[in-house]
Symmetry: D5
Subunit: 113 residues, 10 copies
């Protein structure tokens, strides 16, 4: 995956919520090798570092050719973003388009230190 | 009913929420023998096992020719899915289309061990 | 009013929520003798008995020629349904269409024994 | 049915379109004796007379206890309104709520002299 | 398929449009043997006969276990309904839920004699 | 009524369409003396003059205390605006909020010279 | 302001919620003397008295020519309605249309005795 | 690109309209090498052949790694589909997500022989 | 204004429609010096040249500090784009946010040679 | 930035909530020098002072030519508004339009003294 870049949180003295919504996510189903599509939402309270938006875009694009299950990819994105910006709190949600007539929503949360 | 298959939860160390929404559910009214239609929503926190999506589709299709009341089917789906994947928590909701000008929503919850 | 029929709750060991939404309710304003229109929502946790859907339809149709205020009818429906099925909890909501440019929503709750 | 009252078209020298939308229509199914519900739309170009709005409300309320099929009632409303105000053109549409999972829309037009 | 019943058009002297919308249609894919779901819309100008609504419901339910392609079923419904009520004009539309991420809409029209 | 001011059409060599939508219209019912509310839409092709937006606002506010029927007010607005800016074409529409459960839409058109 | 009339709460033994939504509110800006428009929502738990709907309409119409700020009018309506019906709890909300590209929502609550 | 498969039109004696809507289209911008996303709509009147749905899905997936402009890709899809099924008429539309704050819709039509 | 760049129409043998929607337009009112906001839609049939999307973005940004009336700016954009790409047909629409409670839509069309 | 003006809270004895929604916000990205667009929501409980609406408009317009990150501008607006009116509580939210296919929502809260 491309690196997630960060910049200094301009207001670290305050707990405030940053949410990025990326509706152009695509990866590959590891079983059928068919493309999957969905919207990724990242919501967090920054500590010392904020996620740089352009590098988030490149990071998410890094899954374009990766075979990964819904349940796995949301947890991996959460782990990578937590490692990169060490937030006070973070939640990652994936809302995936229907497969076999069923659409899925996965939500994982990092409760902070 | 077809068996519900499972796969190993790839991130069992974390409580995270998985939701599947199946708008193509149909069963049969046990009184009128007329087809019923609705959307089934399954939301859960996995423990060791996740529900495999394709087998969930086949399981729900298994009700296509079954005569069952709304109140009953939602509880039976919940019981079967809890038995199959032994989740930390699960909620099943059915939103049924109007009958006699009235539409119904049934929600049952398994609160975990 | 027509009787509300019941059937045995198929899963009495669990608290689960049943909601019926009836958008075709009509009664008569006791002051102007003009028809009133609205949607009645009934939400409850059954104890030993569930409300039979067809008899609920007939019961609500029983108000078609009855003169009754919004505030009164919602409480009367709640009282009658509680008497009929003795639920663990019940809420009745009426959402009425505009009269004099104002629409009204009335909500009454039975908190159980 | 109550009489439809009229008033003098204040601008008869111009063809302009008047549309009234009445979402609180109810009649009775002649086969099942169950109430039907729908929205009636009346659209017309007046000649010498306009339809008085309050009398239109009372006229439509006159169907409350009348047993009549969808296809029939729309044509009868059109015939009565044309007779009452002799418009240059008129269209009546009924949009009825679902019965047996099917909702119906009926549209009849009077093409004028 | 169950028979489509008809009744005498109550207003045959006028061309008017009748539309029935049936969102609870289901059939079976002849290749995958998986259920298909969609909404069937029937719009027509009656001549001597109108389609009886309950028999239309039973007729459409008759496809529940039939393996048939989208393109075929819409034309077959049109042929059967034209044969049953001999309308002046008819259009049948099917709006099917997504398969493989693609949803389909098929529209066939009978232009009358 | 306040005067409608105009300014020179900056592009009179071209037929182009200008539409203003004013959702804050209120007048008084001449029968009941109750306030009426609605949205006024003005659409036109300017010839030499365009309608100044602020004066249109004041002109429409001028009806705040005027008793006038729906059918009348739309034609009067059309007449006044045509007189003020002498357009190549103009259409005025009023969409009024429900009275007695019925809402009304009136549309009048000036077809130009 | 016109008086707010009341009637006896038909079910005083129960705490239930009454909500009236009035989208046809208009007053005057005390600075610009321009009309303001908005929706007023009144939500309350009655004690011994309920607010009579028609008198609420007349009371709100009483602001039609009154110059008053958003923040002030919502509190004044709350004070007047609390004085009239002495409720167990009440909340008044005003949702006003845009001025200078900004729309405003004001909410005041009476927490009861 | 993967081949587009066809099957025999089951009702060639009638002109009827088939529409497939594919919201999961992605290609690559030839200038920035960034992924593009959009919805492709294919609407046609079949002659002897219908487009097989699964092969359409694979064909559209074939653009996943192709660098191509919006204006080009819509015309190329139209050319390929016309060559494959030789329809009586066809229209292809692409609705692309925003780039630089601007979203684009491209529509190309084959008018038949 | 920044120059509008073009590229060669990849399919000049066919009349097809290109539409760009830019919801982030802002200019300045020449009377009040207050910012205006709106959405600009450009729809055209290319002849030899297509409009390059990034240069369209910069061109529209060029109005950010320009004082110009709604009626004027839409015609100026149309003139500039027609001059730049010499299309077979073009339409420009501006949908502006409310001023004084009134929002405006302006549409100008170039009918081609 | 222009000064934020205030006026005396007309009802300081009560905690009530004031919300202003400004969808016409624009600033400049400090990295790309491209304009950013969004909606700013300000929600607060006044103490002795309320924010004057017109000065809020001018204050927000003051960012039109300022280069500032999303995370920074929301906190700066919160700080400035808190300093100006010393509220009991305040929340500022920015909902920004997509950049690189990702849109962002930032929320900062002042929890009062």
């Amino acid at each position: 995956m491309p690196d997630i870049e960060t910049f200094d949180n301009p207001h670290p003295q305050r707990d405030y919520v940053i949410k990025h919504v990326a509706p152009e996510f695509t990866s590959v189903c590891p079983k059928t090798h068919q493309p999957d599509f969905g919207t990724i939402e990242v919501e967090y309270v920054a500590d010392k570092l904020c996620i740089e938006l352009k590098s988030l875009k490149y990071y998410l694009q890094g899954y374009r050719d990766v075979g990964v299950f819904y349940e796995d990819v949301i947890n991996r994105i959460l782990d990578d973003l937590v490692a990169a910006c060490k937030p006070r709190w973070m939640k990652v949600t994936g809302k995936f388009t229907p497969r076999g007539g069923i659409h899925s929503i996965i939500t994982a949360e990092y409760k902070g230190r």
